[in-house]
Amino acid sequence: MSEKTRREFLRQSAGAVGGACLFSLGLGLYARQVSALPATALRPPGALAEKDFLSACVRCGLCVRDCPYDTLKLSTLGETVATGTPYFEARKIPCEMCEDIPCVKACPTGALDRSLTEINKSRMGLAALVDQETCLNFLGLRCDVCYRVCPVIDKAITLERVHNPRSDRHAMLLPTVHSDHCTGCGKCEKSCVLPEAAIKVFPVKMAKGKLPEHYRKGWEEKEKHGGSLIGDQIQMPTRRPEQTVPGSAPGGLDSGWKP
């Protein structure tokens, strides 16, 4: 190999290596950037956590093909969901929660985990009643539609009766989501009668808060222990204005308690 061709060869090789490295680096950064799932996109049942999902899903669309309700679709270039991966939007077509979960069975890679055999245990997302200002039940009406369409009715969504302070004589039945039963199928969001749904389903990570590890709920600990953990407590007197003794100091500060 002559000096000139060797130099040419080295130059070309360096270009190839450098170019490929730079491109791969850019691609890796780009991939990391677009890996965040947007708020309206939900993954099929049994989907691994988003990061693991993106290492497993080969974008073949077999889950889409086996979905009997055309719920699932593959993202295309330009959408905010990672290109080619399956997702659905609750407000468009929610998951009908097939008992045999055909989408999970179809997945060849395990991006949809086959250990999910009961559809009620799937966690595609989590519903949240995001707008109490427009929810008809919060306005005192009896809409209840989200509650009634819920496939896990009375567990995932309950109606909580509270006093309506506006009319002062009616009840309000507030749709309340319980995360230990909500599958995130999206039927509530789909069926919300408002032009823009007051109840929405988000990826679990987005909808769910988390208590610090060390927090304990006193009432739960008490029940677990079968009694108070810190012994009996002194019953403090109640001080209420209507209990004031006639003729005592104005303002009702005297509770009438005597040692």
Binding site: S13, A16, A31, L54, V58, L62
Partner: protein, 284 residues
């Protein structure tokens, strides 16, 4: 036109007609049609796309590069995908890795069109990256998959995007395909398939031991018209076999040969033919 005189190469003789070219286009079209029969007419022979598919509800096929990236990213796929990748790998080990490129890949139609137009318009020059760039890129995306924990090439892969797009919906992938067409047309001759595509690089590596090969078995009859060099997508693979430079064998053994058969089509002296790699016979 007499058989004794080589006709001047024309646009048509080089790019539109020829038995193997027509067969190749038929193969590419038939594979796409098989995938489209389901969604268009409800005839489910094949489900999925080139990334992974299921034939007649039983035979899985999976793109080995996707499985490699998935493994690099730390996920061990289910047996279905592993078996699918194994079937694909074994098939291409036999018939030549880059048979995928010339007989299956939908982007081949785009880059062939760009190459034909480039010849017709007489566009010369440009700047092609070294042909080894694809191997570095192949390594690069595996490393990037391992570091980011995701299948990174699928964020830009024009091959799967075009094929998936035609079956499931294209989105902005048209722009990417147009980009590749213009790149091959204006910037680098055969730039995408021959220099950059890491899928092609992987299939090249698979094709090193392929049984099915093209042989220049009548190389003695070659009249140096250069037609084969002009149409070949990887022209460097022809010389050792045709000119016997450094080898006795007339068989094109270079793993980058895509077994497209274009050289057989265009040769007026019938120098080339398909055979198996150990067939060292030559006929005068």
């Amino acid at each position: 036109m007499s058989a004794a005189v080589s006709p001047a190469p024309t646009f048509f003789s080089h790019s539109l007609f020829g038995k193997w070219l027509l067969l190749r286009r038929a193969s590419q079209l038939a594979i796409l049609a098989l995938f489209l029969l389901g969604p268009w007419f409800g005839i489910w022979i094949v489900k999925g796309n080139l990334s992974s598919s299921l034939i007649l509800g039983m035979l899985p096929l999976t793109d080995p590069l996707l499985v490699l990236q998935s493994l690099a990213a730390g996920h061990v796929p289910y047996r279905d995908a592993l078996l699918g990748a194994a079937i694909v790998i074994l098939s291409y080990l036999l018939i030549g890795g880059r048979v995928f490129c010339s007989w299956v890949c939908p982007v081949n139609v785009v880059t062939d069109a760009a190459a034909a137009l480039r010849r017709k318009l007489g566009i010369k020059g440009g700047r092609a990256p070294a042909a080894s760039t694809r191997y570095w890129l192949l390594g690069g995306i595996l490393v990037a998959s391992a570091i980011t924990g995701g299948i990174v090439w699928e964020f830009v892969n024009p091959v799967s995007m075009l094929h998936r797009g035609l079956i499931f919906g294209m989105g902005l992938a048209w722009a990417l395909i147009l980009g590749i067409f213009l790149y091959d047309l204006l910037v680098a001759s055969r730039g995408w398939c021959g220099h950059l595509c890491p899928m092609g690089a992987m299939y090249s590596l698979l094709g090193r031991t392929a049984l099915l090969r093209v042989s220049a078995n009548k190389r003695a009859a070659c009249d140096d018209c250069m037609d084969c060099f002009v149409v070949c997508p990887e022209p460097q693979v022809i010389r050792p076999a045709l000119k016997g430079a450094g080898t006795d064998s007339p068989v094109i053994l270079d793993a980058n040969c895509t077994n497209c058969g274009r050289c057989i089509d265009v040769c007026n002296r019938d120098v080339f033919r398909f055979t198996q790699r150990f067939d060292r016979r030559t006929t005068p």
